[in-house]
Symmetry: C2
Subunit: 131 residues, 2 copies
């Protein structure tokens, strides 16, 4: 897949997440998707995202940086949101927090089959516990 | 710069870090390098690395994944080490910990001018505080 095509596919995936269009998630994510080394599968991946939106009702994915070398994508995602209760074991309780995620994806046949993510959870703790 | 040339330059940069060859750091890192949005400069960047090796005498950078789209590189780095005292405000005290870093670099004229990193600090806390 061409680099720009892969980026377009990734942008469509992020748009799918942002409109919480879980019925379409399988268009972008493989049935046997792995997340940080664990096979979670499409159903487990969807559950993970649904839990994220439950904890963060105003969750919105913003692509700050995107680089592609097919079949791989790396994205720097930024979040600016108000989680209702606990997030990453930090009692955020509706405060506004900003954090980033740097994440690698591997695509096969146009769908994500592997995700290797690091979320800056420490930034959330720093903003809430040591503001 | 060609994608493979950029990867070779990056591998040489990581080798430079692993042998703590601070005199050569300027071959790979620009004078005005920025780290997570802050201009730290070459001297500040070197200090940061020297502090890392002081806290983690057996620090060794391993490239687990590397994707290039010139002038950008994204790397997933893995660490398996025994920090002597505190690391990321966690009292590791010589225990063995494993963690990852997902990091983006921007190159100009063959040198790194911008670094956007997320280190999985929460993984270290989880291994030490909740083993």
């Amino acid at each position: 897949m061409h680099s720009q095509t892969l980026k377009d596919t990734y942008a469509a995936y992020i748009a799918c997440l942002n409109r919480q269009d879980w019925e379409a998630l399988g268009d972008f994510v493989g049935d046997d998707v792995r997340y940080n080394g664990e096979r979670v599968g499409l159903a487990g991946y969807r559950q993970m995202l649904e839990r994220d939106f439950c904890a963060i009702p105003d969750l919105h994915f913003v692509i700050a940086q995107l680089i592609a070398e097919p079949p791989h994508i790396a994205a720097r995602l930024t979040f600016d949101c108000t989680p209702t209760g606990e997030l990453f074991e930090v009692p955020v309780n509706g405060r506004r927090v900003k954090f980033t995620e740097n994440v690698f994806y591997t695509f096969e046949a146009g769908r994500i089959v592997d995700v290797a993510s690091v979320i800056d959870k420490a930034a959330v703790a720093a903003q809430v516990l040591k503001p």
